[in-house]
Symmetry: D3
Subunit: 139 residues, 6 copies
């Protein structure tokens, strides 16, 4: 009945701005406040992923950390040290809120797990914008 | 199937003391140790709320943070910079343990969500007394 | 429907090394990298346990913290300030990964809860090797 | 020329309120805001002391930690789990600001170092009210 | 002989990019790596200022926190929720490294202290780009 | 007059034990308590170095971080993922206390700075054994 998960935490640095092209200037300001601007601002984002799997009887590990670290690096590489509004096609028409950035990371991670045929289930993905604000997607 | 939540963390500063009027002095001491005293002591409490909701297609947000921050400020305002045993009627006869303070915050937050007709579900409320001790109420 | 849990966090300091005796030197190196060595290395582990129970109407507590702290101290005492590969019989043939150390702590805690006839349910046990890597066992 | 110091960090929990009896109600409010109240509020204070000394050639230690921990426990014991305005004579007429609480701890620590004839120099004492506000006394 | 300082910590969110117009593309890449890009990236910066002053005998405070908070907010306001390369004139020709951002904040804070005729001495200003990298200017 | 420093923080994982061969068993126990054992225990050490230097007018940097990171990695590499008592010659007859480990790191860093002819002055080196205990060597 019990479930064992391994969790990995990784920091990355991203710029973004909140602007909905369908909104007027006043509406953008009302919805997004200081996050609505021409050039943007940025954060040290922290991603935490929790993966469930079987503990290998010989290694005692749910999965090899070197591989997991590579997958996570690849997942966030389009965001890390980039300005998502200008550099990432998925955010041309989508506001890069913590919610949407978390969904973006989740899609990429699920795809990678599938490609790698990893015998792992994503259980939860958290994305922290600051210590005081984060989004969690629970499967 | 998946659920998306937004979490918000907020600090507040409160004094309290543990004393059950139905207990003898010796019983109070046995149950509450150093937390049983005449004038009390205090903590920097940290509250973390997790709320589930739909991500708005246009804003990319589960909810407006300015509103959420106001609600949380109002939820903890009777506790923040107060001595709960003397200042808060609900704790005249109830020991203000982390458990009971968490329940108090939960009641106030649920009531506010209802008043605001917020299309949000409270998923979890955590109250930290220190980094080493906290209570979580999961809905 | 809602569940209330109390969580307690405790640090301990342990040495370990990863080596599977059934593996060749090359296999050990491939699976365990820098964690495979003759004498080992160490960590400040952090254990977090979450326990569900009824809030006592008089004390306002799910359980007495003095007792819980003693149980946790006893649970980790064979690991704390020890080298698990050399000092702990359970890890003579088992690789002391975070996964296996978490299982070891869980077994000891469940046994203690039973011995003490504690009206508490273990909900989750987390073991952090660093701030960036941890294992969680959810019941 | 170089100086080696050992630093120790310790948490304690205290209630206080800011009120200067020489001030009018309006003046107290103007100077102290929410910290001015009848019954007070509280914090998890963190004290950090840095002590300089010679490294013992045989033990490799500047000082024995068991002793240092006892001294620190004694230094903060009148404050820990107390309401300083009501329980500590020194704060009957003195506002228990972080500044004054730090001075109080410093006086007690210096006296103890002298009593113990400790061959140590206090270099710095920090007192944190929160992660965002602290006072440091540098000798 | 001893010195008493009050320290205040504040977070702000900024985007930047490293590019020296006098450098070739290859030189910029060699000096700045991933920090050299067209649109930039960002961080949650943390500023910590330490100010020395006399403790007021009546209030017990080195200075009023409400004022200090306002000054700090004003000091970082051109950076907070901005992209310094595009929004801040001082960084049109100056690379917005942590070093230069710290100098910028120091200049603004010293000017404000002077304007306010604050009887305070700036002792140290730290600017954290992440938990693992920061710059300190000590007076 | 003012001094600008850049600080870098790095984690490493080490096992050690405290035993002075000149001491009897009873003396070792009296001086070192739980740190005296046959096989040792371990910690996640954190090293923080602060280096003073001139800010380069063109790059805006005191020094290139890629280089500094490499130097730090090399400085701690004999300790990281090792058991210092068994793996590091310098600690065959020297107790690997935080004090002595800090001195060891300082010697290696100063030598490297000299080898690299780095126009930098080491200002301070801190070594944290836990969040609650650290040693600082100030030049």
């Amino acid at each position: 009945m019990k479930q064992t998960t391994v969790a990995r935490r990784k920091l990355f640095s991203t710029a973004h701005l909140y602007r909905q092209s369908k909104f007027s200037h006043a509406e953008n300001l009302a919805h997004f406040g200081a996050c609505f601007s021409e050039h943007g601002h940025g954060h040290n984002y922290v991603i935490v992923v929790e993966l469930a799997g079987e503990i290998d009887q010989q290694t005692g590990l749910i999965m090899n950390l070197t591989d997991l670290d590579q997958w996570l690096t690849d997942v966030v590489s389009p965001l890390d040290h980039h300005h998502v509004n200008f550099d990432v096609p998925e955010f041309q028409d989508t506001v890069p809120t913590t919610e949407n950035l978390a969904l973006y990371c989740r899609t990429r991670l699920l795809r990678r797990l599938q490609t790698e045929k990893a015998p792992l289930q994503l259980v939860s993905l958290k994305l922290y914008e600051t210590d005081d604000l984060w989004v969690e997607i629970t499967e």
